[in-house]
């Protein structure tokens, strides 16, 4: 029997040491932390300590020249502290991050710990979908207006059918109008944006937005909404949030560490905006005008105040949410009630100035608009003209905070609906890690005991290969920064059970060869050789099934499939090349008569 080639030993050593190095970062403790920048007029350390420790105790804190770092035992604590800082309205900048006791060496070689899925660290996962019906409705309305303009310009007489969900029809009185309109529409080259079907017999032209136009709008809405969602997510205050497009009309949002999804839902999907309107008349006038039919009723609208009282506001909007450039929360300097400080765009500011200048002494209302729900949050007398910057009161602190976030981040281009949610509390996340680890330890232990008693020395070799296999899987997950989920851990555990199969196949072959009267070394040689094609065939089919699983592509399934694929590949290496190297090392130079198998 020829000696086992040196390069294979080197390969095994190389792979093993690389995987040790790259899986190492997973074994260092990490802390959810907050970093607070120090600046000239910022709050001092003892003050900061007091603010943070109102309801949480940091694990440790560290003062550096330009910043202070607070470490916490859980993400829950970290977010509580973050909230404390936010409410305190500090001048300091502060950010969430994860602090590791990781030697710098690992950073230089780009070795990071595995990225844990939300089911392991807790948090909220949303899948949001752009409301395609809304987009279609808007397109239909725009199309109708455009076509109307086109026909009116050419003085073609027509009437419009009632707008349906998907289309609208132009109805003509005579053939001449129909033909002219048809030619006009034909020449206008609208085929890209419209589906046009004519019904000459009843002098109608049916029009609908084309699929291409709808797709285009969906795509641009998703792109625009992604940006806005990113802004909003960054404001919620979690570390490492994810906003990602999925498919053509969906966006994934992941907020690690968040315990309660209520606020996130209110903020993410919100289409809320503000409108500033002057009051116009009293509700009594309005009811009167409703009966008499005076012009008041067409120029004003009845709203409800937060206390339920009716109020009459002008239909004309002075400034709306789109004209708000920036918004912050704080407290009114005189009344000390929570306030949103608003800064308008130049256009909005000049509108505001014009209106306030000519309406001093009158009252202006701030209306909160969310879908069909309109709520007057504040009515105040205009005491002096103002333009760019002013403040809005009438909300509690949390409402003010959320409103400021919404105003800052901008309005969604199209409404979005949550079509999937997966929320896992941080403590359940921790439990899941422990569950995964425990099942791994027990599985590993049972397999190891069995292999040792059944195959003796060879069993030990197989178990060593198994450990190496786990190490390689962990390092590959870390290198590719694949997300490790609980089902991913299940995949690794399953690999442990199935990976020994290759060794069982080889060892059973070796036993057969020995039983046939072959020498130990020949038996080893042909055992490995004969088992190889069986092992690869068997593994490739499992690989095919795992890859098909990957195509389903959803969180839990994907996590399982990824570790299964990695596990199959690495187990083929460890259980064939790896064990062979070990076996050769043990038996090659011994002229032993018997193998311990």
């Amino acid at each position: 029997m020829s000696a086992y080639p040196k390069w294979k030993y080197i390969l095994v050593l190389l792979v093993l040491s690389l995987s040790i190095v790259y899986s190492m970062p997973n074994f260092y403790t990490s802390y959810p932390s907050i970093e607070i920048q120090k600046s000239q007029n910022s709050t001092n350390i003892s003050e900061l300590n007091k603010i943070i420790s109102t309801n949480v105790i940091p694990v440790s804190s560290e003062e550096k020249t330009d910043k202070v770092i607070y470490r916490f035992s859980s993400i829950d604590d970290q977010l509580k502290a973050y909230n404390n800082l936010e409410t305190a309205n500090l001048a300091n900048e502060f950010t969430l991050f994860t602090d590791r006791e990781l030697p710098e060496f690992f950073e230089t070689i780009n070795a990071n710990p595995t990225f844990l899925g939300l089911d392991l660290k807790g948090g909220v996962h949303f899948l949001l979908q752009v409301d395609e019906d809304n987009i279609k409705k808007n397109l239909l309305r725009e199309n109708e207006a455009d076509i109307k303009k086109l026909l009116i310009k050419d003085r073609i007489r027509f009437s419009l059918s009632e707008r349906k969900d998907k289309n609208f029809s132009l109805i003509f009185n005579d053939n001449d109008a129909y033909t002219r309109a048809f030619e006009l529409i034909e020449n206008a080259n609208l085929s890209g944006d419209y589906e046009i079907s004519s019904e000459e017999s009843n002098l109608q032209i049916k029009l609908a937005p084309s699929q291409k136009a709808i797709d285009y709008d969906v795509k641009s809405s998703v792109t625009k909404n992604m940006t806005i969602l990113r802004n909003r997510v960054n404001e919620i205050g979690v570390s490492q949030p994810i906003v990602q497009r999925q498919g053509k009309n969906r966006i994934i949002v992941q907020l690690p560490g968040l315990q309660d999804s209520t606020r996130a839902k209110n903020i993410l999907g919100s289409t809320a905006t503000l409108e500033f309107r002057l009051t116009k008349g009293t509700p009594e006038d309005w009811y009167a005008s409703k009966l008499s039919g005076s012009p008041l009723i067409s120029s004003s609208k009845l709203y409800k105040q937060s206390n339920g009282d009716p109020v009459l506001l002008s239909r004309k909007v002075i400034v709306s949410g789109g004209e708000i450039r920036n918004a912050n929360t704080g407290f009114d300097s005189t009344t000390n009630s929570p306030a949103v400080f608003v800064r308008l765009t130049d256009y909005g500011a000049s509108n505001m100035l014009n209106t306030t200048q000519s309406n001093i002494g009158k009252r202006m209302a701030v209306v909160f608009v969310e879908k069909d729900n309109e709520k007057v949050i504040n009515i105040a007398v205009i005491r002096e003209a103002f333009s760019q910057s002013f403040q809005i009161t009438g909300l509690d602190i949390n409402e003010a905070k959320d409103l400021a976030i919404l105003l800052r981040s901008g309005a969604l281009q199209a409404p979005m609906e949550i079509v999937e949610e997966r929320t896992v509390g941080p403590s359940l996340g921790k439990d899941n890690i422990v569950s995964g680890q425990n099942s791994m330890y027990l599985g590993m232990f049972l397999v190891a005991i069995f292999m040792f008693f059944y195959y003796r020395t060879f069993g030990v070799v197989a178990v060593v290969a198994l450990l190496a296999n786990i190490l390689i899987i962990i390092s590959l997950l870390s290198i590719f920064q694949a997300t490790l989920t609980l089902s991913g851990i299940a995949g690794i555990v399953l690999t442990v059970g199935m990976a020994v199969d290759a060794n069982v196949l080889i060892f059973e072959r070796i036993r057969e060869e020995i039983a046939n009267g072959n020498t130990p070394n020949t038996s080893i040689y042909s055992g490995y050789k004969k088992a190889f094609s069986t092992i690869s065939d068997a593994n490739i089919t499992t690989l095919i099934a795992a890859i098909c699983l990957l195509t389903i592509g959803t969180g839990a399934v994907k996590g399982f499939a990824v570790t299964l694929v990695i596990g199959i590949l690495s187990s083929m290496f460890t259980s064939i090349v790896g064990t062979r190297a070990l076996v050769s090392l043990i038996y090659e130079n011994k002229k032993s008569e018997r193998l311990s198998i």
Binding site: Q259, S261, L446, V447, F450, M451, I544
Partner: protein
């Protein structure tokens, strides 16, 4: 002397082929019957709805919780304890009383007299549910077809058919048992089914590899002997691998928690059935497909 569970066995598995097929056939028939009459107990992944896991600060009574749901005009939510009497799991259908945006508020109304924490809240919309089901079915189909192609290419077409028969047998029975016992069928179970496909094939291929090898070595022998010998030679491997896989699966079932509970159950069933099928069904299907007859004919011609 080394430890052996079984060695040099010489069971006549093929003799029992009709009995084995009868048993399998009966179970499959039963599965079909159950599948048609009561269907699968789909989890929310495939059927849409909410699953909420709540942890209270003290023991709670399920009847009381049910009552508070009824008071808020939600009838018959499915509620069960999880682990202890402080934690419950609640399954809710989609409803007009709450939607994905205000489910949290709805819960706080229902539980206004309780102190609780949401440990887990899953919502799957109906569109996503049906999409996942379609995707899952496609993944199964594509897996089966690509495996058929691979085996057809590596072995012979008829071996491929034999392997697929064994595999469909395993999947049908596993799904059938899930339907019979009305166990929750969710995404994790689907993952398990695809893993079972991989596992079952793994097993079958090992046996077929031996059959092919022996068919070349023992030309003159009759198919039944070749099949029997091959199955016996691979028997200890088949059993040992099943055993180690079952070790880890029971560890998962024991310690892995609710998220992998049904996954483990599906895989345990799959592995048990898969082991049975690679011993009794895979070989027998080659016999009925007359894969080895050619072998015999060739030999007769040579003689």
């Amino acid at each position: 002397m080394s430890l052996r569970i079984i060695s040099n066995t010489n069971f006549n598995f093929l003799e029992q082929k009709r009995k084995a097929l009868l048993i399998s056939g009966l179970i499959i028939l039963l599965s079909f019957f159950s599948f048609l009459t009561q269907g699968l107990n789909y989890g929310i992944d495939f059927s849409s709805g909410y699953i909420v896991q709540l942890e209270f600060n003290k023991d709670v009574k399920i009847e009381r919780i049910k009552e508070s749901f009824t008071e808020n005009s939600v009838d018959n939510p499915i509620i069960q304890y999880y682990g202890n009497q402080k934690e419950v799991i609640i399954k809710l259908q989609e409803s007009n009383t709450y939607d994905q945006n205000n489910i949290n508020n709805f819960l706080s109304t229902v539980f206004k007299n309780y102190d609780y924490k949401i440990q887990k809240l899953d919502f799957v919309g109906s569109q996503i549910g049906s999409e996942l089901r379609t995707k899952g079915e496609w993944a199964m189909l594509v897996a089966i077809i690509s495996i058929l192609v691979y085996i057809g290419f590596r072995f012979e077409f008829l071996y491929g058919i034999g392997a697929i028969l064994a595999l469909i047998h395993d999947v049908l029975i596993t799904v059938g048992i899930f339907s019979l016992l009305q166990l929750q069928f969710d995404l994790s179970v689907l993952s398990a089914l695809l893993a079972v496909i991989g596992y079952s094939l793994n097993d079958t291929i090992v046996v077929y590899d031996r059959i092919r090898e022996n068919a070349n070595l023992m030309h003159a022998d009759n198919p039944e002997n070749i099949l029997n010998k091959s199955i016996n030679q691979t028997l200890s491997r088949t059993l040992i691998t099943s055993l180690t896989t079952l070790f880890v699966l029971f560890s998962l079932l024991l310690f892995g928690g609710i998220a992998v509970e049904y996954f483990s159950i599906a895989m345990i069933i799959g592995v048990l059935v898969g082991t049975f099928s690679s011993i009794y069904i895979a070989g027998a299907s080659l016999f009925f497909l007359k894969v080895l007859e050619k072998n015999e004919e060739n030999q007769q011609l040579l003689d």
